[in-house]
């Protein structure tokens, strides 16, 4: 199966002051159609940078980023982004937020309402269509973002720590919901997290990134049975996988903490 999304020897650096901060160095990655890849890494290791490259918000300093084999140039609506901080339009109701990408896609007015209803139902927010985002809890807002992204019908969903701001229990529920939706829609998803459990619960493959400058440390396939409920999560196989991932991560973290202790202030 050919990769839907791929990074080829990507390096990305930001000019800061006089010099350059290298956020990602020589990173190559293929994402296959229909798969859910988790990018796991400590804070500042370049996860968001990679996602921004895939979405076309930025372009690589060197190397190429490809969607279905063609270079991504400029913002790419076929790669839909789900932001950690929701990025809902506060001045639009839930319905208007979900209808926004439908209007952008040119869906005629009379079809829009029904389609919006469909996506709102999918994230189980029926009854909240006329509420403004500020009137919803964090978990509900994250579900609206998901509905809005799905309504845009992108070929790839890019999710940047979407559940990090939720409490652990709501998070669990949202993870279930995401898996359910992915199974139904078959969307390709690139999911960023710094939570090992979350990566294991969600990913078909787990990409562990190393600390700055970001590179791929290892890629771990995850064959745990789905749905990965609490029984799976307390199973020895889960524990084993977690151990394995932790062994990769630990080294990075200790390096990182040591570095931060010596570092100049930001």
């Amino acid at each position: 199966m050919p990769a839907i999304l791929s990074a080829e020897h990507v390096t990305k650096s930001y000019p800061v002051g006089g010099s350059d901060v290298v956020a990602v160095r020589n990173l190559s990655l293929d994402v296959e159609e229909g798969e859910l890849v988790c990018l796991l890494g400590a804070s500042g290791c370049g996860k968001s940078t990679m996602l921004n490259l895939f979405a076309g918000f930025a372009s690589p300093t060197s190397g190429r980023v490809l969607l279905r084999g063609r270079p991504i140039s400029g913002i790419e609506p076929r790669c839909g982004m789900v932001f950690q901080s929701y990025a809902l339009f506060p001045w639009k109701t839930v319905r208007q937020n979900v209808e926004f990408p439908l209007r952008m896609r040119g869906v005629p007015r009379h079809e829009r309402r029904g389609m919006a209803e469909f996506f709102i139902d999918m994230v189980q927010l029926n009854g909240f269509a006329d509420h403004y985002p500020a009137e919803l809890s964090g978990g509900m807002q994250q579900r609206v973002t998901l509905a809005r992204s799905l309504a845009a019908d992108p070929e790839v969903l890019l999710m940047d720590e979407p559940f990090a701001a939720l409490d652990a229990m709501t998070r669990q529920v949202m993870q279930d919901e995401l898996l359910r939706i992915q199974e139904r829609s078959g969307k390709t998803i690139v999911f960023i997290t710094h939570n090992i459990d979350e990566a294991i619960v969600l990913g078909h493959r787990i990409v562990v990134m190393s600390a700055r400058p970001g590179r791929i440390r290892t890629i771990i396939p995850n064959a745990l049975p789905r749905p990965r409920d609490i029984h799976v999560q307390t199973s020895p196989a889960f524990a084993e996988l977690k151990s394995e991932i932790w062994s990769h991560v630990e080294e990075e973290v200790t390096q990182h903490m040591a570095a931060s202790r010596l570092a100049e202030p930001v």
């Binding site: 979405a55 990025a87 500020a134």
Partner: protein, 271 residues
């Protein structure tokens, strides 16, 4: 409701007892006390009525001006000037502010002039505007315009710059073009800041109209005050001052109403 800090309530526990309306009661008492002191000072002759007319004299003058309709006409005339100048200022400044915030060449072209114009009080424009426009309504409206447009511009500019770039990204990522981003993201995103700026500028516009009316106005609250001053009639001066206060306060209330109407998504803040 937002929690506010409170200090000093530990030593005086009775202050923490929050019976409803206690603040309103204290406020009322404080106003009554002030008026009583004022009346006393003038009645006993401690302050000559030449220097400070008694509250009764002021009330009488106010009643006379209200009954004759002169006060309403003055309020109306000044309000019309404020409204015209302010409206023009908004029409010019809001689009320019948005353009400056989103498009760097516009910013580069205008910013030196804005820096130079910003600190200039509208009152300094009086000589040139009289020269260019004479002393008619045009000149007064222009003074209001010149006094308020920079503030509206700066508020718009700041508000537009503060629009969350993430929302712009999100909109583009969902397939929006420049026009849609402008209309559906940047403008509503900047709206609260623009409206706040408009409210501040409205107060400034009022102070402009008063200086404009210093020179050759046939009507308006400013001319009421300046004429009364020239005739040494301090009761009318005081009536004029209070009228200005109340008019601006009324305009403020109106502005707040409009603000609420324009931003239904802020309704949760008002619970």
């Amino acid at each position: 409701m937002r929690e506010h800090i409170a200090v000093g309530t530990r030593r005086l526990p009775w202050l923490t007892i929050d019976w409803p309306g206690r603040a309103a009661l204290v406020s009322m008492a404080s106003v009554l006390l002030f008026i009583a002191l004022w009346a006393l000072a003038t009645a006993t002759g401690w302050i000559s009525p030449l220097f400070l007319p008694s509250p009764v004299a002021v009330a009488q003058a106010a009643a006379k001006l209200v009954l004759s309709g002169d006060l309403w006409r003055a309020v109306l005339a000044s309000s019309a000037r404020v409204f015209a100048g302010f409206f023009l200022a908004a029409i010019v400044a809001i689009p320019l502010g948005v353009a400056m915030a989103t498009f760097w060449p516009v910013r580069a072209i205008f910013s030196p002039f804005i820096s130079l114009l910003r600190p200039l009080p509208s009152i300094t424009w009086i000589p040139l505007t009289i020269l260019w426009l004479g002393i008619g309504e045009q000149q007064k409206v222009t003074i209001v315009f010149l006094g308020s447009w920079v503030y509206i511009l700066l508020a718009t500019y700041e508000a537009t710059r503060r629009v969350d770039p993430l929302l712009v990204r999100a909109a583009r990522n969902l397939g929006a073009g420049d026009l849609t981003v402008m209309r559906e993201v940047i403008f509503p995103g900047a709206l609260p800041g623009i409206l706040a700026g408009l409210k501040v500028s409205l107060a400034i516009a009022w102070s402009c109209v008063l200086s404009a009316e210093m020179i050759a106005a046939r009507n308006g609250l400013g001319s009421l005050i300046w004429e009364a001053k020239d005739w040494g009639d301090m009761t009318v001066v005081l009536v004029g001052m209070v009228s200005i206060s109340l008019t601006v306060l009324a305009a403020d209330v109106l502005a707040n109403r409009i603000e609420i109407l324009l931003q239904p998504w802020e309704r949760h803040r008002r619970h």
